[in-house]
C-alpha cells in the first residue's frame, strides 16, 4: 500500500482529468426538419394582424432561364465547392427549423435581459430606457409580462409573414435550386415546397425587424445571426440569393405592422407613475383591506402595474374585465388567517422533493420566465411533430398570444385586488424562492400554465394529460415555495384555462385544422 498508493492516485487523477467535461444542449444535433405535411394551402390561413396575405407585394421572380438566376446558382455552387466546417455547422443548426431556432434565440434574449435594476443611492430605482442604449440599467428588464408580450409579437409576426410567404410560393411556384440544377446538393434536406420567397429568410427578417422594439441593444447581434442563417440557406442549396432577398423584405414589412402596434399597445406606459402606485394603496385601504407592500429593501415600485391595460391579441379590454374572478378572502378574515398559517406550515420543514418542484418551475430572475418555459416545453414536443415552418409559427403564436393575454389578465387581477403575499402577513414565512415584486392574487405561474396547457392540449392532443399535470405542478410549486396562498393558484389556473380557450377558439377557425 505504501509503495503503490501514490501511483494509484496519480493514475486516478489522470483518468478523471481526461474525461470529457463538456456539457451539450439537448437540442443540439437535431436532424433537418422534414415536414410530414408542407401545408401547401397555408396562404389561405387567417393571419393575426394582416387583413390579406398579399397586403405587401412581392415581385414576380425572374425565370430560371434568366442570366440573373444562373448567377444565383453559381453563387450556391461556389459555396458548395469549398464548404467550410463552420458553414456545415451553420447549415446543420438552421436546418432543424427556422422558427424553432429563432424561438430558442428569443428564449436566450429574454433570459439575458431578465435582471431587475439595482437601486440608486437614494433608494429609488432606475427605469430601463430604450432611449439610452447600452447604459445601466439595460433596456428591457424582460420580466414575465414583458417576455410574454415579446414572444407573442415575434411568433405572431412570423406567422403572418409565413402566411404571406406561402401565398406567394403558391402564386409563383419557383422550383428549388437543386431541382433546377442537379449538380447542386440539397444539404438541408429536400422539400416539395416552392422556393420563392425563402421561408427561412421571411422568419429571419420578421424577427430581426422586431428587435428595434423589443431588444434594441441586440440589433447588431441579431443581424449577424440573420446573415449566418441566410448564408446557410444559400450554401445548403435550399434557396437562391433572390429567394432570400424577397423573403427577408417580406418578413420585415409584415413585422413593421407589429412594430406599429407594439408602439401603441400601452406596454410603454405599463410601469405607471408614483401617483398610480399610491392610488392602489388608497383604493385598497378604502375597502378596509391590507394593501400589498414590496418586500424588497429598499421597497421597489410594483412590477408593471398597468400591464393589465395592454392591448391583447385574443381578449379585448371588456374580455379582460370579464375574466376577473371573485375577490380573495378578506385580509381581516378567518379564512385569510388560516391561509397564512397554511403557508407557514408548508415551508416550515420543506422536503427535498418540495424543493425540486419549486426550483424546476421557479423560472425567476435570469431565466426565460414561465412563458419561456412553456415555449421550451412546446418546442421539444413540436420538434417531434415535424411541423411545416408555417405550422410551427402558427402553433407558437397561438401559445404566445395566450401567454401574453394571460399576463394582461393576471396583471389586471393582481392590481385590481392588490392582495398581500403570505410573508407580508407573517414575517416568519421564509420562502424557497424569491418573492416576486407584485401582489399575490392570482398566481402568474398558475395563469401562464393554465393558458399554455389548454392551447397545447388542443395542438398536441396525445400530450394533453401531461400538459395538464405539468400545469398543476407549476401552479402548485408556488404554494410549495411559500410565496402564494393555495387559492391564488387554484383560481389562477382556472382563469388561465379560460384565456387558453380563446386561443383554442382561434385555432379552430384560422383555417389550419
Amino acid at each position: 500500500m505504501q509503495r503503490h498508493a501514490p501511483i494509484f492516485f496519480v493514475l486516478a487523477l489522470v483518468a478523471f482529468a481526461a474525461c470529457n467535461k463538456s456539457v451539450s444542449n439537448v437540442t443540439d444535433n437535431l436532424p433537418a426538419l422534414t415536414p410530414g405535411n408542407e401545408d401547401l394551402n397555408a396562404g389561405t390561413w387567417k393571419p393575426v394582424l394582416l387583413t390579406r396575405p398579399d397586403t405587401f407585394a412581392v415581385a414576380t421572380p425572374v425565370a430560371t432561364s434568366n442570366a440573373a438566376y444562373t448567377a444565383d446558382l453559381n453563387e450556391i455552387k461556389a459555396y458548395q465547392h469549398n464548404l467550410t466546417g463552420d458553414m456545415k455547422a451553420q447549415i446543420s443548426y438552421w436546418s432543424a427549423g427556422h422558427v424553432f431556432r429563432w424561438n430558442q434565440i428569443m428564449l436566450e434574449l429574454v433570459t439575458k435581459y431578465n435582471l431587475p435594476p439595482y437601486q440608486n443611492a437614494d433608494g429609488s430605482y432606475p427605469v430601463p430606457s430604450a432611449a439610452n442604449p447600452f447604459a445601466y440599467p439595460n433596456f428591457p428588464f424582460s420580466n414575465p409580462p414583458y417576455a410574454a408580450r415579446a414572444y407573442a409579437y415575434v411568433t405572431a409576426a412570423q406567422y403572418d409573414a409565413l402566411v404571406a410567404c406561402w401565398h406567394y410560393k403558391t402564386l409563383y411556384n419557383r422550383p428549388r435550386p437543386y431541382q433546377v440544377d442537379s449538380t447542386i446538393q440539397a444539404l438541408a434536406g429536400k422539400t416539395t415546397l416552392s422556393s420563392y420567397p425563402s421561408e427561412g429568410a421571411v422568419v429571419a427578417g420578421a424577427t430581426a425587424e422586431l428587435m428595434q422594439l423589443l431588444f434594441p441593444d441586440e440589433i447588431a447581434n441579431i443581424q449577424q445571426k440573420l446573415s449566418q442563417e441566410e448564408l446557410a440557406l444559400i450554401a445548403s442549396g435550399s434557396a437562391t440569393r433572390s429567394d432570400i432577398t424577397a423573403g427577408e423584405a417580406l418578413g420585415r414589412q409584415v413585422a413593421d405592422v407589429y412594430l406599429a402596434r407594439g408602439r401603441a399597445d400601452n406596454a410603454g406606459k405599463a410601469g405607471g407613475t408614483p401617483a398610480n402606485w399610491t392610488s392602489f394603496v388608497t383604493t385598497t385601504e378604502a375597502e378596509s383591506q391590507i394593501p400589498w407592500l414590496s418586500l424588497e429593501y429598499p421597497a421597489r415600485p410594483p412590477m408593471l402595474p398597468l400591464f393589465g391595460k395592454v392591448k391583447g391579441f385574443l381578449c379585448d379590454s371588456a374580455a379582460i374585465i370579464a375574466l376577473r374572478p371573485s375577490p380573495p378572502p378578506s385580509t381581516n378574515s378567518a379564512d385569510m388567517t388560516a391561509a397564512v398559517q397554511a403557508a407557514y406550515n408548508t415551508v416550515k420543514n420543506p422536503t427535498r422533493a418540495q424543493m425540486t418542484t419549486v426550483q424546476f418551475w421557479a423560472d425567476g430572475v435570469s431565466t426565460y420566465t414561465p412563458p419561456g418555459h412553456w415555449n421550451y416545453i412546446a418546442e421539444k414536443d413540436f420538434v417531434k411533430q415535424n411541423y411545416s415552418e408555417v405550422r410551427w409559427a402558427r402553433n407558437l403564436a397561438l401559445l404566445n398570444m395566450a401567454e401574453m393575454d394571460a399576463a394582461i389578465s393576471c396583471w389586471d387581477i393582481k392590481y385590481f385586488y392588490f392582495n398581500p403575499r403570505p410573508t407580508q402577513m407573517d414575517a416568519r414565512i421564509k420562502t424557497l424562492t424569491g418573492i416576486p415584486n407584485f401582489p399575490s392574487y392570482v398566481s402568474g405561474h398558475a395563469m401562464f400554465s393554465g393558458a399554455a396547457s389548454t392551447i397545447l392540449a388542443h395542438l398536441v392532443p396525445s400530450r394533453a394529460s401531461d400538459y395538464m399535470s405539468m400545469s398543476q405542478d407549476a401552479a402548485n410549486s408556488r404554494v410549495l415555495a411559500g410565496i402564494h396562498y393555495a387559492i391564488d393558484c387554484q383560481v389562477g389556473l382556472t382563469v388561465g384555462q379560460h384565456v387558453g380557450n380563446y386561443a383554442v377558439q382561434r385555432a379552430m377557425t384560422d383555417g389550419a385544422e
Partner: protein, 315 residues
C-alpha cells in the same frame, strides 16, 4: 412568479467553505505536515462558523439589504488513521446550515459531502540544520445527499464530485517551520433542478460544467510535540467560470476566487495520545464572486494508538 426580485440579488457565497474541502485554515489534517504513526488514529468533531455581509459581484464589492449577513455553520466529523508511518488516510463529513439575517429566503441544512484524502510522505531528510519533508496527497469527495446546488448562497454545497492532487513541502528547523502546498482539483459536472440555465449564454440542459480549481497555501509558525501556532495565507482560483452579472443571483459554475489570511493553534494535552484542541480563524482579504467571509473553527480531537509502540504517534 418568480422574479426573485427581491432577493434576487442575492449572492454568492460561502463558497469558500463549500468549495472544496481544500479549505484553508481548517484544522483538518490534510493540509498540515504531520503524520499519524502506524495504527494511530486521531478523530473528533469540529464546529465552524463563517459569515459575511459584503460580497463580490464579479469584481464589484457590495452589500445586499435583502440578505443582510449570510452565515454558514458546519459540524464535521473527522478522522485520520496511520496505515503506515508514511501513509495516512483522512476522512471528513460535515453537516451544514445556512442562514441570512435579512430578506425572505429560507436557509438550507443537511449533510454535505464525504471527503477522503490519502497522504503519503514521499521524503523526509535532513537539510542544513533542519528537516525537509515532502508529501503527496490524493483526495476525493462525493456528495452524501442530493441537496440542490443552484440555490446559492444558501445551497449547502456545490454537489460536484471532486478529485484533488496536492504537493506539500515542509521545512522545520528546531521548532520553527514553513509549509507550502499547491492543490489542483477536478470537479465533475453537476445536475441542477432546472432544465435550462444562463451563464454567458442560455444552456438547454440540466447539466452544468464546473470549472476546476487551483489553490495554494503557505503556513509559517512554531511546532512542538504539544503545540502548533501558525499563520496561514491561502489563495484559491477557479480555472474558468463566469462572473455574477449586475444584481444577478450566483450560480454554481461562477468563477470563485478568494485570498485569505488567518491563524491556527493546536494544543495537545498530552504528548502522544489523548485530547487535543484546535482553533482557527481566517478572513477573506480579496475575492471574486464570493462573500468576504470571516471564519472561526474549533475542534476537539482524540488520539489513540492500536500499535504496540504507543510512542511517536505523531511525526
Amino acid at each position: 412568479m418568480h422574479m426573485l426580485n427581491q432577493n434576487k440579488a442575492a449572492l454568492p457565497a460561502l463558497l469558500l467553505l463549500l468549495l472544496l474541502q481544500a479549505g484553508v485554515t481548517r484544522a483538518q489534517m490534510d493540509n498540515d505536515a504531520i503524520m499519524m504513526g502506524k495504527n494511530a488514529f486521531c478523530g473528533g468533531p469540529m464546529y465552524s462558523y463563517s459569515s459575511w455581509n459584503h460580497y463580490w459581484e464579479g469584481t464589484l464589492k457590495r452589500t445586499n439589504k435583502n440578505l443582510g449577513t449570510v452565515s454558514t455553520q458546519m459540524v464535521s466529523l473527522m478522522g485520520d488513521y496511520g496505515i503506515t508511518k508514511n501513509v495516512n488516510v483522512l476522512v471528513m463529513a460535515p453537516y451544514v446550515w445556512t442562514h441570512a439575517t435579512a430578506g425572505t429566503l429560507s436557509g438550507q441544512h443537511g449533510i454535505q459531502d464525504l471527503s477522503v484524502w490519502l497522504k503519503y510522505r514521499a521524503l523526509k531528510q535532513n537539510v542544513g540544520n533542519g528537516v525537509l519533508s515532502t508529501f503527496v496527497l490524493g483526495g476525493a469527495s462525493i456528495p452524501l445527499t442530493n441537496y440542490e446546488p443552484d440555490y446559492l448562497p444558501f445551497s449547502i454545497g456545490l454537489h460536484s464530485k471532486t478529485l484533488s492532487g496536492r504537493l506539500t513541502v515542509d521545512y522545520q528547523q528546531r521548532h520553527f517551520f514553513a509549509t507550502a502546498m499547491g492543490t489542483y482539483t477536478w470537479r465533475s459536472d453537476v445536475t441542477i433542478d432546472e432544465e435550462a440555465y444562463y451563464t454567458t449564454s442560455l444552456h438547454f440542459t440540466n447539466k452544468v460544467d464546473m470549472p476546476n480549481v487551483a489553490a495554494e497555501e503557505l503556513r509559517i509558525g512554531y511546532r512542538s510535540s504539544r503545540l502548533i501556532i501558525e499563520a496561514v495565507g491561502s489563495n484559491m482560483n477557479t480555472l474558468g467560470g463566469f462572473d455574477i452579472r449586475r444584481n444577478d443571483m450566483p450560480f454554481p459554475s461562477n468563477k470563485m476566487n478568494a485570498t485569505m489570511a488567518g491563524a491556527h493553534v493546536r494544543y495537545f494535552f498530552k504528548k502522544d495520545h489523548g485530547f487535543s484542541v484546535d482553533v482557527d480563524g481566517d478572513y477573506t482579504v480579496a475575492g471574486r464572486n464570493v462573500g468576504q467571509a470571516r471564519s472561526f473553527d474549533v475542534g476537539v480531537f482524540y488520539l489513540l494508538s492500536f500499535s504496540h509502540h504507543p510512542t511517536n504517534n505523531i511525526k
